[in-house]
Symmetry: C2
Subunit: 95 residues, 2 copies
């Protein structure tokens, strides 16, 4: 399995909108991607503008399937204007 920790920082005041976009994305992932057993948004307690996604994928194909969906593309488009800087995406081996 492959794990992903993705870190995104949002602009002040954009948290609620960001969380709504991600809630919709997460619901789509759960409904459509049996190769994605975990897609969990978390919010830093130290800085509420920092969000960390905890994700697990069965394999590389599951990641490709995830990233090629319409709902993923739409969510990323909606998130982009809310972000400060680029998302940091880290891939790890899930043991």
């Amino acid at each position: 399995m492959i794990a992903v920790i993705a870190v995104m920082t949002v602009k002040d005041g954009s948290g609620a909108e960001f969380e709504a976009v991600v809630a919709e994305l997460a619901a789509q992932v759960r409904a459509n991607e049996e190769g994605t057993p975990l897609f969990q948004l978390t919010r830093s307690k130290a800085d509420p503008n920092i969000y960390k996604f905890m994700e697990l994928y069965r394999d590389g194909d599951a990641i490709k399937a995830h990233a090629s969906t319409e709902y993923f593309t739409a969510a990323f488009k909606a998130m982009a204007p809310l972000l400060v800087g680029e998302p940091q995406i880290e891939y790890l081996d899930a043991l």
Copy 2:
């Protein structure tokens, strides 16, 4: 729910032993802690000495229950000599 991302760096050559200790701990967590729906070890692809735990707890009580078990104490004792520096434990709100 509360999320935890814990980062630990091991000494060169200690990875296999560390992974064995954590595998045992993870099995105990899964068998005994229904308040801990996720306890996932991951290993950085960039630096295989860096491990990141992805954890989810139902609430603060679940974290306390987890940290007060004998198997947790024993695992931490076994991990300590394998580590470089202190573990970095980050608590986040799981949304």
